[in-house]
């Protein structure tokens, strides 16, 4: 179950315990438990549950110039649905979602390569691949902007060796969204790699050895053993990836200057939310937009769970 180095106590527990429910279901109601939960419960009430109700309320109101909220019914929702920029941002966000998923196949391939018997330096590779994920997103955005720079950037220079024309990658509306998406893939691959390495480790080596005896080559073994047995992990990772990409904000905020001509073509839903809520003071519409985002996340997650039955292989 856990991937932590089990303590001796935990090992003994695994042997002696039969139920997984922790404390014995006793008749005693331990009242001191409420004291244990109270601090967190209070924090959640103040900073999570109450704000959630507030946002719901905001989404049906208009924020006046002198403060105070006026009830306006569903007008905010109608405004959101009719707004072209919302649909554009939704389209961009879905593009980020699809591009972001490309990190998964890369991570799976690397995890499989790292799973070779007797390979040296596995932990060093893992450490190096993970570094972009740990690094401050602002630093990541700034260095990639510099690499993409149209006049003095290294990427244009390298591409020119292969005869590719110079381009202003981040300010050209036709390439900006892909330039940002590339950085997303680059910075999250290491994270999924760690998840898949744990998954690949769980596949018994005997399967591979048996397949090898039957004359299956590396590609065949990958397709018939690794992929099917990894599919629950792939499913988990793709749900996480989708939920995270739908809420993407940091990189775009950093990489796109306000005067950038491609800003409309790269704006994400959360980016638009931030602009409405804290720059244009359209709090009601921003709240409605946030609920729309939650709806999209819920719908796509539900869809994922529906489709998984067809391709996820639970041993």
């Amino acid at each position: 179950m856990s991937i932590f180095p089990a303590t001796a106590a935990a090992k003994a527990a695994a042997r002696s315990r039969t139920s997984a429910s922790g404390a014995r279901p006793g008749p005693r109601n331990q009242r001191s438990a409420y004291w244990f939960i109270a601090p967190l419960g209070l924090g959640f009430a103040v900073f999570y549950f109450w704000p959630l109700l507030q946002t719901l309320y905001f989404s049906f109101t208009e924020f006046g110039a002198f403060g105070g909220h006026t009830f306006i019914g569903t007008d905010n929702y109608i405004r959101v649905i009719k707004d072209v920029t919302v649909w554009q941002a939704l389209g961009n966000t879905l593009i980020y979602c699809v591009i972001g998923l490309l990190a998964l196949p890369v991570a799976i391939v690397v995890a499989s390569l790292l799973n070779r018997r007797g390979l040296r330096g596995v932990s060093v590779y893992r450490a190096l691949y993970f570094i972009p994920f740990v690094t401050l997103p602002v630093a990541v955005g700034l260095v990639w902007n510099w690499l993409y720079n149209g006049d003095f950037g290294l990427i244009n220079e390298i591409l020119s060796w292969f005869g590719v024309d110079r381009n202003y990658w981040v300010s050209d509306p036709s390439t900006a969204v892909y330039a940002i998406g590339t950085v997303m893939v680059w910075s999250t691959t290491g994270y999924y790699l760690v998840i898949f390495m744990a998954g690949v480790k769980g596949i018994p080596q005997d399967y591979y050895e048996a397949a090898e005896l039957d004359g299956a080559g590396p590609l065949r073994r990958f397709l018939t053993i690794t992929l099917p047995l990894l599919s629950p992990t792939i499913f988990f990772a793709s749900v996480i990836c989708m939920i995270n990409s739908l809420q993407t904000f940091d990189l775009i905020y950093i990489m796109m200057a306000e005067k950038n001509p491609a800003i409309g073509d790269t704006q994400s839903i959360v980016g638009l939310f931030y602009k409405w809520a804290f720059i244009e003071n359209a709090q009601g519409a921003a709240a409605a937009l946030a609920f729309l985002l939650m709806l999209v996340i819920a719908a796509l997650t539900y869809l994922q769970f529906r489709i998984q039955k067809r391709w996820v292989h639970y041993a």
């Binding site: 409420y34 244990f36 967190l40 704000p51 740990v134 602002v138 630093a139 700034l142 905020y253 931030y274």
Partner: protein
């Protein structure tokens, strides 16, 4: 970190020599280079003069190693204050989560009380909510407490975490019941058992939660941008973005600032790698 043998296959004592391992190392090393090269380029750029960065074609190594940009960052921004704010934010959230989540997780895992499952489900539902649904009212709360542009504004909401509670609960569940019972017979109270017996046993889980929380706190951008708009009160994650406006084309200074800002988390990561890996393998989403 174990030492590595570059890109050449090492002969092993296995029966069949793996001709594929050279190719494997070649592919993996290329990938690793792609992952690390941008940071190398960041460093090389930081060491160049402004004039040298606007040369076509670009130079690879700096003509003369120039460290001025690293000093300039501290005058271009209230950089020292920003780093301090990041540190306060990180420590506040991490300590808060360790305390609040471990207390609640212990009760959910090891105690019997009415409404336990309902409460736990309610707490877990926090995981499902995108942060954008909460920040408007959260901002209002911070404002009404008079805390805008302060350190507590940065870490207050982030001290409470459903993910942390869930993760620690999983570990509390694996501990043997005999320990608790023996302590109870000796007359120890609930808190005493939690504090001196149970908590030390889940140290690896606490470490994993601490590093992942520290990383999220240090790197968080949206919330600090909202509550702390005064540069003196910004953490470095938000502060660096203002360099873009002022120093739009001064790449050496921007790269130097980025390097210094990402260094603390990188050092923590290199020293506590194991805990990062464990928390990720267990974790789900970033929120």
């Amino acid at each position: 970190m174990p030492d590595t043998s570059g890109t050449h296959a090492t002969p092993t004592t296995r029966k069949r020599f793996n001709s594929g391992s050279v190719a494997t190392h070649a592919v993996l090393s290329f990938g690793a280079l792609v992952m690390v090269f941008p940071f190398l380029w960041q460093l090389l750029t930081a060491l160049k003069t402004l004039a040298e960065t606007s040369q076509v074609p670009p130079t690879f190594l700096p003509k003369d190693w120039n460290w001025d940009s690293f000093e300039e960052v501290f005058t271009a921004l209230p950089f020292r204050e920003m780093l301090t704010n990041s540190l306060l934010n990180t420590v506040g959230r991490t300590v808060g989560q360790l305390v609040f989540c471990s207390l609640a997780a212990y009760a959910f895992a090891r105690m019997q009380f009415r409404g336990r499952n309902v409460l736990f489900a309610l707490f877990l539902s926090v995981l499902m909510v995108p942060s954008s649904l909460l920040v408007l009212p959260q901002y209002d709360i911070i404002q009404s407490l008079g805390l805008l542009n302060s350190a507590p504004a940065l870490f207050l909401p982030g001290m409470f975490s459903a993910f942390g509670t869930f993760m620690l609960r999983q570990f509390f569940l694996t501990l043997p019941r005999e320990l608790e019972e023996a302590a109870r017979i000796d007359g120890a109270g609930s808190f005493r058992i939690f504090w001196s017996i149970m908590l030390p046993l889940i140290r690896p889980a606490l470490a994993a939660l601490a590093v992942i929380t520290a990383m999220w706190s240090w790197n968080d951008l949206l919330w600090p941008l909202i509550v702390n708009t005064d540069p003196e009160k910004m953490p470095i994650s938000a502060g660096l973005t203002s360099l873009e406006g002022q120093y739009e084309t001064n790449y050496p200074v921007m790269m130097a600032g980025s390097l210094i800002a990402s260094l603390p988390m990188l050092v923590v990561y290199l020293f506590l790698q194991r805990h990062f890996v464990q928390s990720v393998a267990l974790s789900g989403s970033k929120n």
